[in-house]
Every structure is written in C-alpha cells, then in structure tokens.
Symmetry: C2
C-alpha cells in the first residue's frame, strides 16, 4: 500500500466508516498530553492508532478496564551488556512493556567496527522491539589501549545518514571536549552536519566544566549521581536520564529530584543490565514502579518513559496513545505495580502475561564471529621478570568498578616471576590484545579479588574488550586464555587444567547466540564456581570486576594491553614500585 492508501484506510477507520483492523476495547488510556485517564477504545489501522473513542473492529480485544500506556522507551541501553543478541534481547524486554530502546552498540563496535554496527542494525530488524541506535562516539575509548577498531569523525558521516541511527552515542570523552581536542570536536561537528543529537556521558562533571561540555550542544546525560548534579544539568538544558540498571540504580535516590516544574526534562534508562536483573525485576516497568514508590506521580513517571523520550529524540511517531502514532501499547493492571498484561508494537500483539509472542527469527552472526585473534600467546609470556619485591598493586574497591593504586612486598621466584601466596590475596592479571593479533600483552598484580586457585578469563573487558584473565598460576591462566581462544570468545572458569564452567560468546566475544534463560543459567553457574571453587571474594562480582579493570577512564589504576595505567596522572607505570624501576 502507498502511504496515501494507508492514510485513506486510517481516515476511514478514524471516521467510523469502516471497522478497524483491531480494537482494544474498554481501556483506561493514560493521556500523556493532558495528564488525564480517558476511558475508551483504541482503534488500529495497519499498525497505527486511527482513533480513540468508541470503535468496532474486525478483531476486538477486551482490556477489561486495564490501563493503556504508550509503549515504554528505554532511552539509553547497551544490548551487549545482557550478553544476548538483539533478537533475544527483544524477547527479554518486550514482555515488560518496553517497546523502544535507544541502544548504543558501543561494545560491539569497539570489537568489530562498523561491521558490528551493521550486524546490530540487521539483527534489530528481526526483533519486535523497536531498536533505535546511537552511533558509538568513542571507539577506541582512549589512546592508551587497542580496540578492534577505530571510528574517526570522518568515518561517522555515512552511518549518521542512516535513518535507524538517531545520533551520536554517549560522548564519554568529556575530558577531550573540555580540553577542546580537535579530533574529538570533529565528531561533534559530524553530528551537527547530520543534524542529529549527541548523547552525553558526564560523570561527576559540575560547574564550568559541565557548562563547557553542554555548550557544545550535547543533549542528554545519564550519569548524574547527586541532586546537585541533576539540578545543574537541568538548568543547562541537558535532559537527565535517571538510571536503573544492574549495577547503577541512581533512580532510587534521584527520583526525588523530579518535580512538576522540571518533570518534562527527565527520561528513564537502564544503561547496562544483566539478564538476571531484567528477568527478576523487570525493564522500564521496574523503573516506573520505583518512580511511583519514590513519590513521583504515576502519569509523570509514564511521561518520562514515553512522551519525554519521544520529544528528546524527535520520535514524533510514538510516545503517546493518539491518532497517527504507532500502535505501541502496553496494558497494565494499575499505575503502581505496573504489572504488564499485554503489549503491542506497531499494532502487533507481542507479549501477553510475560510471554513473548513472536517467533524469534535470528540474523546470521557469521560477520561478527571469529573475533578472537591472538599472537604468540603462551604461559611463558605470563612470566614476570620483576627486579624488585616491592611492586605496584591494584587494590579492588568492593561494590564499585574503581581500583586504588597501592603497593606491596611480594615473593619472587629466582627468575623474577611473581610467586602466588594465598595469604597475601594478590593475583596476577593479564590483558591480552585479541583483535589484530598484535601480540600485545600486559600484566598487573591485583589485591582483594580473593581467588586462590584456578583462573578466570573473559573477552568482555570494557571498552576495548581484549582478553582479561586473572589466576593463581601462569599455567592456569594460560589454560583459561587458550580455552577462550578455542571457543572464539566468552567467559571461562578453570581449575587444575579443566573447565569448571563457561559461557561461549561467539558474537564478537560479547554475546551468546543462545536463549537468555540459558545465558542467565550459565552466568549463575560461573558465579557459583568462581565463589565456591576458586574462592573469589564475596565482596566483589567475579565477572563484572574483571570487566572494568581494563577501562582506563575509571580511576585509579587500570590495565590495558599496552600496560599498567595510572588514570589520575594519565601515564603508564611500571610494575615495580621503586622509582628506579627498570622496565
């Protein structure tokens, strides 16, 4: 049908001249424009809402007085963090009423470059969930590491022309913006030239630094961590996304910032979610629940997850239940628990009582497999040749992804290698470049991880996603790394030369091609093995902690494939603590 034909049918249905395709009868419709609850039917025509009122349809579904919300929008999320593909991610989120996500495929693009973006775009088309993308803005994240790809400002023009890409993703390089680094600003210029918005990422930024950051036109921030940070962002015109993810749950504290005066400037997002979190707690429905628990008016909460997000991203075709908008509709029992009964996306029924209704077709993953390319790796390369017993160590900071720069006296073997001592709670960590077989490998010593036998290795290590491994001996670590190489990426827990538990992540070493339930079970088993068999400290998350120890933008000491990096002073440091260290 041409658009004119679609409109003709829609007009006839709206006028009551012909029956609707589907009518959802007896709804209490949340009107996000007037903040009223309006009783009536919703008439659908080719996936679009034709009218609200009294209608008849070829198909009629009785909502029995349930509340009808516009489809919920998660304004910022990384699909890769759930370790499942977009199609499976849709199965995970949609039964919770999330019908649109603004996804930043930052992880896979760091591994696979624009090939990864292309895969995500294609896979997303097989998902019922409407996945809009932001183009990752910081690939690689810093100059102190090797990712699988580099995306320069010049590379951005073409993807920014794609209608499925709404703009430039979270602009993590805030220091680069504030220091006005030309190659960094060129990326903002590319977004400007494309007429598309840029998402922000400004943890802890305040006052003039925040003003400088905002002065570039960056539109949102999802990193506000205090009332003061929220207030400053709002005043400067940044949309504030309140986050409710697996690790970061600022929404709980910051919901108190939302007032009738400023509410239109808030959005909801989850950023990073493990499958277990969503399966146990929910998706955007969970955020709405927290909002209302924390005293936000329910319709305001719904606006934050619908109209506000649609306005921010110019998604004029959604964000409300109104004629001419997409048939993205969520039926919930009430406006307190927001228990989701039914979900429609583009007029198609996609979930009912927790079950995902569409058949899950999957896009071919071959373009993003075989992402693990390591050169010259062996246990021998994990051997240290320390010139001193006095070494620099990374101290883990439980409950965060921070680390502290500290020092310790350790035992050395005659050849200078580190000797593991269970009493000292210090283990070796290695980061091994795995994208271009450069042979890069760097080592650190970590305290507080707890592990006293075996090894853990993974290909998920923000943001460059090289291999990161920690273990009690060179041989155990090498076994784990070799296992990862063999399986083409994933997470593995080994002991005594045998695999205890593992999760293959064939898609870029980041995502499984399996159902989310299986992924969740594997992750649970991995955690159990890490705690129970390897004795990883219960104070840390054995996987998430490692994931973030290679991210050289989070203080204080991190390990990239290029070496041990002092984030505070922006420089590489030797393993030996002495000032006269030779390395």
């Amino acid at each position: 049908m041409t658009y004119t034909e679609l409109l003709t049918k829609r007009i006839h249905i709206a006028s009551g001249m012909e029956p609707a395709d589907t009518v959802i009868k007896n709804c209490r419709i949340v009107n996000v424009f007037t903040r009223e609850i309006i009783e009536g039917d919703i008439a659908l025509s080719d996936g679009v809402i034709a009218g609200i009122g009294q209608y008849t349809g070829r198909e009629e579904i009785d909502a029995h007085g349930a509340y009808a919300l516009p489809g919920l929008i998660d304004s910022h999320i990384h699909i890769e963090s759930s370790h499942v593909t977009p199609e499976e991610f849709s199965r995970l989120l949609v039964p919770h009423g999330t019908t649109t996500v603004i996804a930043d495929p930052h992880e896979i693009v760091n591994v696979c470059g624009l090939t990864g973006l292309s895969y995500m775009l294609n896979a997303a088309e097989k998902a019922a969930l409407d996945i809009k993308f932001m183009l990752p803005s910081c690939v690689p994240c810093t100059e102190w590491e090797h990712a699988g790809a580099a995306v320069t400002a010049a590379d951005m023009a073409e993807p920014l022309r794609d209608d499925r890409i709404l703009g430039l993703g979270e602009f993590m390089n805030a220091p680069g913006v504030i220091r006005a680094v030309p190659a960094v600003l060129d990326k903002l210029a590319a977004a400007k030239a494309a007429g598309k918005p840029v998402d922000g990422h400004a943890p802890s930024l305040l006052d003039r630094n925040l003003t400088a950051y905002a002065s570039t036109g960056i539109r949102t921030d999802h990193e506000a961590g205090s009332v003061e940070e929220v207030q400053q962002r709002l005043r400067l015109g940044l949309y504030v996304m309140l986050r409710y993810g697996s690790a970061c749950t600022e929404l709980e504290e910051l919901a108190a910032c939302v007032t009738p005066e400023n509410a239109r400037r808030f959005l909801l997002c989850s950023d990073d979610c493990h499958p277990a979190t969503i399966m146990a707690r929910g998706s955007t429905d969970a955020s709405l629940r927290v909002c209302v628990e924390r005293g936000i008016d329910p319709i305001t909460a719904v606006q934050m997850a619908t109209l506000n997000a649609a306005e921010c991203y110019h998604l004029d075709d959604r964000g409300a239940i109104a004629p001419g908008r997409r048939g993205d509709i969520v039926l919930v029992d009430d406006l307190q628990e927001f228990r989701v009964r039914r979900v429609w996306i583009g007029g198609k029924p996609v979930a009912q009582d927790g079950a995902y209704l569409p058949e899950t077709a999957r896009h071919d993953i071959s373009s993003v497999m075989s992402s693990v390319h390591v050169k010259d790796f062996s246990a021998e390369r994990l051997r240290l040749r320390l010139t001193s017993d006095h070494v620099t160590v990374m101290d883990l900071h439980p409950g965060t992804v921070l680390s502290h720069r500290s020092d310790a006296y350790i035992r050395r073997a005659p050849d200078g290698d580190f000797l593991f001592d269970p009493a000292a709670d210090i283990v070796k960590m290695a980061v091994i470049e795995r994208h271009h077989a450069t042979g890069n490998l760097a080592m650190a010593l970590v305290r507080g991880y707890g592990l006293d036998r075996g090894a853990i290795a993974l290909t998920v290590a923000h943001d460059s996603h090289n291999i990161i491994a920690a273990g009690a001996s060179n041989d155990e670590m090498a076994f784990a790394v070799d296992r990862l190489i063999d399986m083409g990426g994933g997470i593995t827990v080994v002991r005594d030369g045998a695999v205890l538990e593992e999760l293959p992540l064939p898609v870029a070493g980041l995502m499984s091609d399996q159902p989310v339930e299986w992924v969740r079970d594997r992750l649970d088993a991995i955690h159990r093995a890490a705690f129970e068999e390897l004795h990883v400290s219960r104070a840390v998350d054995p996987i998430t902690t490692l994931c973030f120890m290679a991210l050289p933008v989070i203080p204080e000491l991190k390990l990239t494939d290029m070496g041990l990096f002092d984030v505070i002073h922006s420089r590489f440091v030797p393993l030996e603590a002495e000032e006269t260290a030779e390395e």
Copy 2:
C-alpha cells in the same frame, strides 16, 4: 571558522579561559527548563550562548537586573498580511522581542507560485528576524477559483528538502483530508517522505472528523475557537496555538484553558496582523501580556512562546537561554507588562527601546513584481443582463468575514443591468482574474457594505488574490480596476473618476516596498476615505471585508473569478433568485 574552531572558542569561553565576545551582565534569567529565575551573566561566543554564570567579555552590557527571556517565537504568521516585505516585517516585529517566526507564505505563493516562495526565502535572509517557512499546502485553496499558481504534491518534494522550510503549512483543506481525496493525501505523503511536520487548520472540527484529521499526523492547530475545541485537540496530541492577531484574538478567551497539566502543548501565534495592530499593541510580547492578564503563570507563558515552539518544530538550537543555544535574548522590565528593552538575535544586538538597530538591506523584488495580468477588461464587462428583479445577494455579517445568502428585489435598467439605489444598500462586486489574463470575471450583489458613491478595488483577495472591486457604478468600478492594473497591484479608493487614496502593493499585489509607517498611514487614509467619502458602513472594515469575500471556504456565499459560489452546497449559483433563472 570551522565548526570545530567555533566549538573550541565556545568551550574556552564557557570554561572562563578566555573572555566572551559579549557578556550581558546582571540578568534575571528565565530558565524554561526548571521554571526558575536565575541571576547571572550570559556569555556569548560567535552568536551562541557559551555559559550562564559569572563571566567577563570584550564587550559587557549591564542588564541592571532586567529579566532575560529566550527570543520569542511566533509559531504561525503570514507576513503578507502586514503588507510589508520580510525585511520590513523584521523591523516591525523584532523590537517587540519576537526573534523567530514560522511563516506560511501562502498568499504570495498563490500569486507567484514557487517563485514567490523563493523571493520570500531570499528576502528573509536580509532580515534580522529569523524567519522559518512552512511550504503552503493548499495552492490554489479550492478548485472553484483560479489562483496565480498551482502547487501539487509532486511540486513539493524539492522545496521540502530545503533546510529553511520546516514542513508543510496549514493544511486548510480539512474536508479533503476527511474525505480522503488522494491528491490531497499525496501532499501529506510528500511531507512524510521529507520527514517534516504538517501544520493544521481545522476550524470548528470536532469529534470523529477531528480524529480523522489528526490521524494523518498533522501536528498543530491554530483555529481552536472554544474550550471544547481546545480540549479535544490537546487530547488528540495536536499542539494548540492560541492566536492573537488583528481580527482573531481567541487567546483572550482561551488562555483559561492553559493548566499546569497541559501547558507544554500550547504555543502562541498571531496568524494575520495589520501593521497598525503590531505598532499599537505589540507582537509576541502582547500575547505574553494577555496570557498573564488572563491568569497564566508568567514562566508558563514564556515557555509557550519559546521552549514549546522549539520542541514542536524541532528547533533545538533555540527556545531557551542555555549553553549551546542561539544568542536570541530579550530583556524585559518585568514579567507582567513584558516591556522590551533590548533584543539580541544570534548574538547581535537588534533592538533597543523600540528601535530596530540593523541597517535594512532589501532583496530585489523584480521577480515578484508585474503580477497583474488582466484581459479584455472594461466598464462594459461589469454590465449585468439580469432576467429578473429578484436576485441573490450576499449579506455581510458585521464583525466577521462570513456572508449570508439572501435575496432582494432590485431596480433594473432596460438592458437588464443593476441600477444602484442608495436606499437599498446594495452594491455591485466584481472579481476579475488577474494572474494569467484569462479574462475571467464574475459579479455579485452585496448588501450591508454601506458604500453609496465611488468604488474600492484591491489585489488582495484571499486566497487567490484576484482583483476584487465594489462600487456604486460600472464606471467608478472600472476606473478603480484600471488604476490597480496601472499601478501593478494594491488598494485604491476612487470617486468621480479620481483617486482619493491608494496604497501601491508592487510585490505580488500583496506587499509594499515601502517602510511600515508609510504603509500604516496609507491604510489609515484608505480607511478614512472609505468611511468618510464613500460612506462605507462603520460596522464593517472596508478593506478586510472585501479581502475575504472571494474566499470560497468561508460560508455562506462567496464570489470567485468563476462565479457566485454557495459554500454550504459547494456549487455555483446564478445571480437571479428564481429557480428558473437562465444565466
């Protein structure tokens, strides 16, 4: 400077590392995001706001505690209605704090087609006022008249690609939408293909007809005339523009509809304004004043004229005083009278205490002159050959642009021509096609206009802008029409074969090339002459009334170049009242 260089400088200014180009110090800044008044300075960098706070600049202007508003946006206006060119229109509006208008050049495009659009785009670039355009959607307005041009859906694709054109202008053909006429819907399809919004125009539309209209995705309406109409439009997701123009001032009554719950969905517009109205009363500043008088919170009123409009039209670069937004700033004494002290547009000072500061450069008007092309016109052609004394008459409805269909017994000359009788208050009216020299001419008889001698003729006759003339005799009317042809369009008042007063409108027969003060004085003189010399009834506006008697979408009886048209029954009718009329 490249955009990266612009950003670099802006960041340095925002950070306080270098002085701003200009700092407006000691402002009380209306923050439309948080609805706070924030005391501080505004730092400008190349026309863009770099920061809010404490700043120093190479130029510093002390606001002495004045309130700083974001530049005001008139969301829907026809420049042609002020009878001045865009450059002069800028001079008229800007001292009142209006810094952006969304203009629909519907009148000139009906006369000159896309050449008229092109002229307006070019002339607008010489104006300090930032004029954004909507592409006129209904040219000609109906099939029952001949305009100077026809713009089909196919013609729209190219102008819709122009960045200066925000979308499709007020979609007046609501009946065509509701009846789903394919050629009408094709225009909506053109806007959809361009990804641009469509303004609405839905007077009196309610219930299912309004739903059908809204179901096409039309985004706004400025014709709501009652509380019920406002409510329905808001619920359906249409932005509601409250109008405060010369003739239509619904804002006064409908301001009461604005509540904290729905305020974000309201915009302000003036639609059609005579120069005298703006010079006496103001522009968007006057609308703000009315809002506050009628009980709307001042910051809400400001939001309606700034952030709301920017959101509606995706003008992300304005609508707020915040870093990264255009330096469109208005200083006012208070938030009640909104007396405008100073205005900046794009960081340039453009008005101070009522004076417009820029030099007024003017775009060449030759492409839109010589728009009057009439064939075979003479007094003889105004002669009627009535076959009956019983005729159909248009009864004027004072205070509106409506007319009623009525009948009367008149005196006839031996040849059947109408004989003017001062006691009967009926005069001849003629519409003469003036674009393509078709020779089309049609006649009507009008009651209630009062004129008892001389004639009035003009080339401003909505929406086709043919010549319309009314007079006491064929010779007087012919003299007036010939005079219009000679001067290439305008308004003329004649008596006894001499011009009493006139206003040449060389630009498409719609706009003067002279300063607005002169135009206002000419219009005043024309009105005086019409009332005092020709005895036009004080109950009607001698010019505006004629302007709308050729518009065949306003009930009940209208006159186009094709004949006397019954708007209610959509058909042409004869002058003779008898059912057996021969004509």
